[in-house]
């Protein structure tokens, strides 16, 4: 999973990653024996964890829900880590390079309010209903039809996303290290199948916590050294201000403001409006992802009690607010610090430009006309464009998405580079593992059990879960090769998430907070909402000019399309739910206990000192969140 729409929305779309395969160039780095040892130790560790946890994953509750034994810290770190994939890191570092700190919206308003809402308001209903999955909640609230729609949508999305993740990792390893594509796919899929198949969700969660530590250990050094070299915050700001116009075409100091220039689509480099950021991103997409996407919610459902389940997203939100330090900052630093081999400042470009200037044989550009046209849209200096066209060996083109790996190569020597690469591999693998483990749960509980075999024993369902992991990995490998050979598919796979999540949010919110919402309304709201959202996507995909209609402005850019499409899909589904509910008979209130606000008697929690109370920590998060937005206004 790419996380909160990151790859889908990240500029320089990672959807064009496959095109990079055509770009024959030297890898960015070569690992030394010490680096290879660091990577190898990671693989040994995750497989050791899988074997060790096998003995603790014998019942279905243990295998699919990690025994519901996770502490708030483990559930919280796993919750935020499941979203922190490598494509997320690389994609948003690239976006920061292009758009400045506007990209931070996807970490702050695009995450924090929703995480707090999940912990404080929604988690009691998920937790008290003892559901195994989000489709499972839909089953309890709206019946089997709504559950089946959600289950099939989740299962399809997760397995395809796992394949995309696998393929993306292979491409990144190919571009950064020169590794063979099939080698990367084989090694990562065997490792994931082993440790998730053996240890189930517990193993996936352990790996995510491990990954979280590795990402910080491997990536944090880059902004630290970068800030030293840039001369601190003041130096970074001065250099960006001095070079921004010539390098990016962006006027003024837009790179340093979160909100100031969002009053119109044309005033900021991202081409978004604050209404889209607040309502589309901050509500429809963010709440949809963080409160209903089973991949992340499953981590919190594994908490050992309700208080831990409520604390987990709040703990996660602290770390989420800090992530821009290792993602956004390296992107900004790359803007002023990256250099070409000849010492001139390196300018990154979109992957479409890199692909257009890909080589035929040797270092020559295979289609000079297309390359020249693509480069003409960039701010690359004319002399450098001529060098690229002439195939001068040192005149390399690198995409925005390579900002983070390039910064790693710039600063990290033997051992440290291995750690940075391990952090990327861990991010990819935990993304795969997260999707595969969630797929296994949805397949077993929401498809196999209700629709194929209702009367199996507990051990039978564990076996089905284990087999579904193997099958899931096999299908993921197939999806990875499919994407490799049919590049356009990646766009559709990445869009699945954004198409599905906003209607699901509408249905779950009405189900959880409106007693009058009926079964048929839930089913139709979800189904028609998905159809509506997919139609909007296809409209813009087939007729790009329709973007102006969807985002309500001719100045809107693709980033705006996603946030507004989610908003319209949410509103459409909400209207369907309300309209159909008014025409159909509601369930008696007695059937809604544990499912709906106002019809549920929530368990009383033991009183704790204020410093252990979730509301205290949530308040602190709110204060920091508001302060950061004011500071970077």
């Amino acid at each position: 999973m790419f996380g909160l729409v990151p790859a889908t929305l990240a500029a320089g779309s990672l959807g064009s990653l496959p095109a990079l395969l055509a770009f024959s160039t030297e890898p960015l780095a070569h690992l030394r024996p010490l680096d290879i040892a660091v990577v190898a130790i990671y693989f040994v560790m995750v497989i050791w964890i899988g074997f060790y946890l096998k003995g603790q994953s014998n019942t279905s509750e243990e295998f699919f829900m990690a025994g519901r034994e996770m502490t708030a810290w483990i559930a919280g770190l796993s919750f935020v880590s499941a979203n922190l994939g490598s494509l997320e890191l690389m994609g948003w570092a690239g976006s920061a390079y292009q758009y400045g700190i506007l990209a931070t919206h996807w970490y702050w308003i695009g995450a924090i309010p929703a995480m707090l809402f999940l912990g404080l308001v929604m988690m009691p209903f998920y937790y008290v209903s003892k559901t195994h999955s989000v489709p499972g909640y839909l089953d309890l609230r709206f019946g089997g039809a709504a559950r089946s729609v959600a289950a099939f949508a989740f299962a399809t999305e997760m397995i395809l996303m796992s394949g995309v993740n696998m393929f993306a990792m292979a491409v990144v390893m190919k571009v950064v290290l020169g590794w063979d594509i099939s080698f990367s796919i084989f090694v990562s899929s065997v490792a994931v199948a082993l440790y998730v198949g053996l240890g189930g969700l517990r193993s996936a969660i352990f790996n995510e916590v491990l990954q979280f530590v590795l990402i910080w250990g491997g990536a944090l050094l880059v902004p630290i050294l970068g800030m030293i070299q840039a001369g601190g915050v003041g130096g970074l700001k001065r250099q960006i201000m001095a070079n921004m116009q010539s390098m990016t075409g962006v006027h003024g100091d837009s790179y340093f403001h979160l909100w100031r220039d969002t009053g119109s689509f044309a005033a900021n480099p991202m081409g978004v409006h604050w209404t889209g950021i607040v309502f589309g991103l901050g509500f429809a997409i963010s709440f949809g992802y963080w409160t209903t996407d089973f991949l992340v919610v499953q981590r919190v459902l594994a908490a050992h009690n309700l208080r831990a389940a409520r604390m987990a997203p709040i703990i996660g939100s602290f770390f989420k607010m800090a992530v821009p330090f290792i993602v956004i900052l390296p992107g900004l630093l790359g803007l002023v610090l990256l250099q070409n081999p000849d010492g001139s400042r390196r300018q990154l470009v979109g992957e479409d430009v890199v692909a257009a200037c890909s080589g035929g044989s040797g270092s020559s550009v295979s289609d000079p006309g297309a390359c020249s046209a693509a480069m003409a849209k960039t701010t690359l200096p004319a002399a450098y464009q001529q060098k690229v066209l002439a195939g001068v060996p040192d005149a390399e083109l690198h995409s925005y998405n390579q900002a983070l790996p390039l910064m790693m190569v710039r600063y990290l020597g033997p051992g440290l580079l291995g750690l940075g690469i391990t952090a990327l591999i861990a991010g990819f693998m935990s993304g795969m593992a997260g999707n595969v483990s969630a797929f296994s749960t949805v397949w077993t509980y929401d498809i196999y059990k209700p629709l194929i075999n209702k009367k199996g024993s507990d051990s039978h369902y564990v076996l089905v879960g284990r087999l579904s992991i193997l099958i899931g990995v096999a299908v993921s490998i197939g999806a990875a090769y499919l994407v490799m050979h049919a590049h356009g598919i990646m766009d559709y796979v990445q869009a699945l998430f954004s198409i599905f999540i906003a209607p699901l949010l509408a249905v779950i919110l009405f189900g959880m907070f409106w007693k009058r919402a009926t079964k048929l309304a839930g089913f139709l709201g979800l189904l028609l909402g998905i159809v509506f959202s997919a139609s909007l996507f296809m409209w813009v995909h087939l007729y790009p000019a329709a973007l102006a209609n969807v985002a309500l402005s001719p100045d809107a850019k693709p980033m705006a399309e996603n946030v507004f499409r989610a908003l319209w899909a949410f509103i459409f589904s909400a209207i369907v739910v309300v309209f159909v509910s008014m025409l159909t008979k509601a369930r008696p209130e007695s059937e809604l206990d544990g499912l709906v606000y106002g019809a549920t008697k929530l368990p009383t929690e033991e009183p704790v000192p204020f410093y252990k109370n979730e509301w205290t920590w949530a308040l602190l998060v709110v204060v920091i969140f508001v302060a950061l937005n004011i500071l970077f206004w």
Binding site: L34, V38, M45, Q56, F206, V213, I228, R410, G415, L416
Partner: protein
């Protein structure tokens, strides 16, 4: 973490310890021989202080969460 004999923090400690030993060791080698890696700011000897930090964190987690001590 309940229900498991070895907590995740111990595994993390082992990993950080191993990485710390390797990277810190390489940093000491660089210091001793004066051969610096071909990267920016190599003169700051990041492997020494970053590797040392990983090593100390690793030792802390391994000792604090070693098997048999959990729950005490």
């Amino acid at each position: 973490m309940h229900g498991s004999k070895i907590p995740i923090w111990f595994f993390i400690g082992v990993l950080l310890l191993a990485y710390g030993v390797m990277i810190f060791g390489y940093g000491l080698f660089e210091l001793a021989t004066g051969t610096l890696a071909n990267v920016q700011l190599a003169s700051l000897h990041a492997p020494v202080w970053w590797g040392g930090t990983l090593l100390l964190l690793g030792v802390f987690y391994v000792v604090k969460f070693r098997p048999g001590r959990v729950g005490k």
